[in-house]
């Protein structure tokens, strides 16, 4: 379905606590940059990924308000809210709109404003992406689920907690050179080990910092010889909900299936990828994602990270701009950040975050603790 779609413009804002800007302003900023980058006329559809705007008491139906603010009305607008998978799902919807022939040029914007909420309120809202009746209502959140998963991972594979340092290390190594990242410093093991515990054994350094941010892309049907980066494959897979399966089985079936389907559509293998952007809202999901897409065997993700496989000059460069861990996690926008960062690398515009000779990228975001996975192959 996605074959034959190209990305003609990208834009993003710095991930930060943007006290001076509201949700709509942030979205307009990123969308404006993408429109300038594409030197494009007004899109004929606008799709917005925003996970928690309404729940956090901010703007609902953001797509309409964004289109109005951009001055591109009348236009068809849609909002996508799929927890942390919103960004990937919005791109997928835009591809469907173009492939079906309904629209020619679609603006896709992911935006989130988390800093106006107090941390415990934000955790409550983020928990609403889980099973509201059986998990969130009982004091469980993505962070607590990540802690349980991490403990199970250590128990089952007989590993030392310190090995998880290598997940955060890769992200910080790459985020240090990203001027749009919220954490721009390399992380050393001593810092990691003394990081405050949120829920045993998971510490602050094992979680991505919530932040404000927006990222945008403009898609259209491919034109021969345009030279733009194309979407070569895509898949959006939802599986049975609940935190129990990832924690007890240590697998993410939706992530595995989504990646396999997208790679099949693109006609390539994970080994063909020059870089990957996977979901790292916490270190446990990061490790499972690495294993789910085939970069490591079960129980070996941390060892592969320690071996340097995921560094910029490694076998499979990962989180090339710092991932959610170092760049920052703006939940509804996170999937769009991944796409924009991959496009910058494939265009050769990634500056100090450039992966040499990058030709293909896999981007994958997860929603509801991995029950939903959206993957795209770019090249």
């Amino acid at each position: 379905m996605t074959t034959g779609i190209e990305i003609i413009g990208v834009g993003l804002t710095k991930s930060a606590e943007k006290w001076e800007m509201g949700l709509l302003d942030i979205a307009i900023r990123a969308a404006g940059k993408a429109l300038e980058d594409a030197q494009s006329e007004s899109p004929d559809a606008v799709v917005v990924a925003n996970a928690f705007g309404g729940a956090l008491g901010d703007q609902q139906n953001l797509a309409l308000h964004l289109a109005s603010g951009l001055g591109c009305c009348p236009v068809e607008t849609y909002c996508v809210a799929c927890d942390d998978a919103s960004g990937g799902a919005a791109v997928r919807l835009a591809c469907a709109l173009i492939s079906s022939g309904m629209h020619q040029t679609v603006l896709v914007v992911g935006a989130e404003k988390t800093s106006d909420a107090l941390p415990d309120m934000l955790e409550t809202v983020r928990a609403s992406g889980l099973d509201a009746g059986r998990e969130a209502s009982f004091g469980f959140s993505p962070t607590i689920a990540g802690a349980l998963g991490m403990q199970q991972y250590l128990n089952v594979y007989g590993l030392d907690k310190a090995l998880f340092f290598h997940i955060a290390k890769v992200a910080h190594e790459h985020g240090a050179t990203n001027r749009n990242a919220i954490f721009r410093w390399p992380l050393d093991e001593a810092q990691y080990l003394k990081s405050p515990i949120v829920a045993t054994p998971l510490s602050v350094c094992d979680t991505a910092p919530p932040c404000d941010g927006a990222a945008a892309v403009i898609l259209r049907k491919s034109k021969n010889g345009s030279g733009h980066i194309r979407i070569l494959g895509g898949a959006n897979v939802s599986r049975k909900r609940g935190i129990v399966h990832p924690i007890t089985e240590l697998t993410l079936p939706a992530a595995t299936e989504s990646a396999a389907m997208a790679l099949k559509e693109a006609g390539c293998d994970v080994a063909d990828m020059s870089l990957l952007e996977l979901h790292d809202s916490n270190a446990f999901l990061a490790a499972l994602s690495i294993e789910a897409v085939g970069l490591a065997k079960p129980g070996e993700a941390l060892h592969r990270a320690a071996d340097g496989d995921f560094s910029k000059d490694g076998k499979a460069p990962l989180w090339t701009f710092g991932g959610h861990k170092s760049r920052g996690l703006a939940p509804g926008a996170s999937g769009l950040y991944q796409v924009v960062e991959a496009v910058l690398n494939l265009r050769g515009d990634a500056q100090r975050n450039q992966v040499p000779s990058a030709t293909k990228a896999l981007v994958q975001c997860l929603g509801s603790f991995g029950a939903q996975a959206v993957t795209h192959i770019l090249g």
Binding site: G139, A199, T200, K240
Partner: protein, 132 residues
């Protein structure tokens, strides 16, 4: 936790009531209105034993809103005798003393309160099994 929602969930929260599909015998918790395996809409109400064991546990130091009063608390995945897994708090024991394989049983406890004047949710937690 709105009052109506709390009331609606009483059978599962206070009595661990699930459903068993009359066509394919699938046991589900909480109760469902359509079998996720075969699509059947007829069920027998089935009360779970409430006995199980800890699969994995964590001690929570930073909680979501309405759960701060419990910090630090033990949160766990519990596998019930019927094979159902539940995410639940462990109570009546220090969090550091909770261990994998610990035998536990369902007890009814205060889960959360919405501010000083809001409704209080009572539901299941799990405590160390007193009488094996």
């Amino acid at each position: 936790m709105q009052i109506a929602k709390s009331w609606r969930q009483q059978p599962s929260n206070l009595r661990l009531e699930g459903t068993r599909c009359t066509r394919c015998d699938r046991l589900e918790f909480p109760a469902v209105i359509r079998c996720s395996a075969c699509g059947c809409t007829e069920f027998e109400i089935c009360q779970l034993s409430g006995k199980g064991e800890v699969v994995v546990a964590t001690t929570v130091f930073e909680a979501a809103r309405d759960f701060g009063e419990h910090v630090p608390y033990s949160a766990a995945i519990v596998k019930l005798a019927e094979g159902i897994h539940l995410a639940a708090m462990i109570t009546d024991v220090e969090p550091r003393d909770v261990y994998v394989g610990m035998k536990v049983e369902m007890v009814t406890r205060r889960i959360a309160a919405q501010g000083d004047k809001g409704p209080i949710l009572y539901a299941y937690k799990f405590a160390p099994l007193l009488m094996p």
